[in-house]
Structure formats: structure tokens, C-alpha cells
Symmetry: C2
Subunit: 195 residues, 2 copies
DNA sequence: ACCTGAACACCGTTCAAGT
DNA sequence: ACCTGAACACCGTTCAAGT
């Protein structure tokens, strides 16, 4: 079942296995003994590469944070106007298949003091970026920030909803298209706020 | 520290302790040995009242589900029009202090197969109720449903955001008032959709 | 440098025995 | 009817010893 690598295991092998375990079964699934079994090695081997279970979690989170923040932000920078970039961001982020790893991390953030800071940084950067887009589209600084916070709420809430009621949110199809249209009009930049 | 009750402990004592533990430290904190210590009894006592740890969780969830669904839905039924009821619901639900227990359950729902069904039922009922209000305010059935889903997303996302960036969401004050105004206009029923 | 294997602590679960 | 206390399994962590 587990992919057994020939001899010298690297720390990254453990990190990959940890992230896969999180996506599949949550942060609680980052357990040394089961991971060791999956990698075909022993617990003792683990403690050569990591000081403890938390240290593995920490480094796995750092890897995720690096890989999943800038990529999304950079992906939409080719659209001509801020309004277009916002629209593209929405279209890219909302109909997409739910990212199981992101949901699991979001879930763990509420109770796990090691996960929360990572999620906080990522969320902060995303919010700031969206606020900047609203600002560039002509809204005041405070209105732009409020709308960015609301947009992030909708995004985060949708991750939760998708997991709670999978049948309610088809990944494609007419319902989802109408939904996206609703969201686009609700989240479009408005120029008339707090002149 | 723990409130030690005189002799015959009831199942409800364990359930109360479990719900308190969840609110404070997440579902993982429902651990028999620590709870026994807090209640001043032994693990053996626990297994008189419950078949196992999961059984305690199950019954704690059932208690929460019963207490926290109908109460909120019923609380706003005195407003004259559907539009007013929606507005009151928003005003009641959004500026309120974050419910730690609800956040912890929402978090656990993503990975815990015992928690998810309870959250799914509660979310479904809340969504249906809000959709009914939109419908009564004059929207088509499908538009009302889509808007209810979006409103639930904002609500759930806000719970997450509040925990990720506590400083961003003051419980009162001007920022929160402006935010509420934004939400009210974005989530107000519109009559012009899908005539 | 990297790994094994045994040891110990902690928590879930069982159960015979007590009141 | 309700509880204790000892026992065992499972996983985190340590460490002496191996290659």
C-alpha cells in the first residue's frame, strides 16, 4: 500500500507523507508509527530527521504555506484592469474542486496552536491582496478592506459548506454557474461607498 | 479546578464536561482519563454510563444539536415582514461574540465522521430556514436558495476568520457596524432575479 | 550518517471485584 | 446501581547499540 523507498529516506519524504495524511484524514493522522509503517521504516528513523511529531507538522506547514500562497496570487496578474483581475480570481477560486488539504488545515487551525499561525498568515496575505484589488478598482481603503474580508468569509465558508453538504454544491453545471453570477454581482467593486 | 460532584454522577455530567472540553480545546480534548480526573472519578466509572469514547461524543453532539438549532430559528419570528426577519437574523447572528463550541465542532466536522452528520443537519436546517425567508420576501425558489447558501457561507467563513485573525473582527465598534451595513445591503432580498 | 529495537509514559478499553 | 483498580493495547518519545 505505502510507497516504500529504497534506503536513505529524506526529511522531505516524511513531509510529503505527512501532507498526504492530512489531506486524507486530518492533522490527527500525522502519527509517527503509522507514517513509519507507510514508509517502510521504524519510529527510530523518524527521530533522526525530526525532533518530534510537532516538528514534522511545523515543517509540513511551512512547505504548504510556501507552495500555496504566491502561486494563486500570481496566477491572475495578466488581466488588464483590477476589476477584471477580481472577476478572474472569483472564477478561478470558486468553481474549483475543493482542496481537501486546505479544508483539513482550516479545520485544524481552530484548535491546533501549531496550525493556526500558518493559516493566519496565508489568510492575511490573501485578504490584503484582494483589498488591494478593490482599492485599485476605485473603492476607499476601508470599504475595500471590508469587502475583502467579506469575500474571504464567503470563500472560507464555502469550503466548509462543500464538506458539510457535498450534494448541494456541484462542481459544475447550471446551479453553480448561477451561483457564480450571484457572487460576481454581490462581490463586484462598488464606487459609491464612503466617497 | 474541576467541579467535583458528590457521589452519583449522571451521564449528563459527563456530557456537560465533554461539551466544555470541546469548546475549550477541541474535539480531541474529549479524553476519558482527563475528564475522569476533572470530575473526580475513575475511568471505570465512565464505562458504566457510556459504551466508549465515541458514544460520549455522539450523545454530546445530540445535546448540542437539540439546544442550538431551534432556539436561534425561533428567536426572530416576531418581526413583521420576511425582510425584517432577515435583517434581524443578520443583526443577531453577525455581531455576536464567536461561539467557541460552534467553531470547534465546525473544525472537527471536516475530519471526524461522528461530528459531520450533526453539523450537516444543523447547517441544512439553517439554510432551509433562510431560503424560506428569501422566498417569502419575493425571490424565486432557486434564487432564494442560492442566496441562502451564500449567506450561510458568509456566516461560516466569518467564524473561521474570527479565529484566524481575532484582531481583525472587533465584536463591537464602528468597523463592525460598517461591516454589518455592507452585509445587509449585499444579502438583502432582491426581487429582480429570475422573474 | 542513518537506522533498529527495546524501554517507558500516556490514554482507551475491559473486567473482576467491591459497596 | 455505581464505582474502583489492575490489566492490556496503542502511540509518542528516548536512547543505546548497530551498520
Amino acid at each position: 500500500m505505502g510507497m516504500v523507498k529504497s534506503s536513505p529516506l529524506t526529511a522531505d519524504d516524511w513531509i510529503d507523507a505527512a501532507l498526504r495524511a492530512i489531506a486524507e484524514n486530518g492533522v490527527g493522522a500525522v502519527a509517527v508509527e503509522p507514517l513509519a509503517k507507510k514508509l517502510g521504516t521504524t519510529k527510530g528513523s523518524f527521530y533522526w530527521h525530526f525532533s518530534n511529531r510537532d516538528n514534522l507538522l511545523e515543517r509540513a506547514l511551512a512547505t504548504w504555506e510556501r507552495d500555496h500562497t504566491d502561486a494563486i496570487i500570481a496566477a491572475v496578474d495578466d488581466a488588464p484592469t483590477p476589476r477584471d483581475r477580481l472577476k478572474q480570481l472569483l472564477e478561478r477560486v470558486f468553481p474549483a474542486d475543493i482542496d481537501a488539504l486546505e479544508v483539513a488545515l482550516l479545520a485544524a487551525a481552530a484548535t491546533d496552536p501549531r496550525v493556526r499561525p500558518a493559516l493566519t498568515r496565508v489568510t492575511q496575505r490573501r485578504t490584503d491582496h484582494v483589498a488591494k484589488l478593490y482599492r485599485a478598482a476605485g473603492m476607499t481603503k476601508s470599504a475595500a478592506h471590508r469587502r475583502a474580508v467579506i469575500a474571504m468569509s464567503v470563500y472560507l465558508g464555502r469550503l466548509q459548506l462543500a464538506f458539510l453538504t457535498p450534494n448541494e454544491l456541484p462542481s459544475g453545471g447550471a446551479a453553480s454557474a448561477a451561483m457564480l453570477a450571484d457572487l460576481e454581482s454581490m462581490l463586484a467593486p462598488s464606487e459609491s461607498v464612503e466617497k
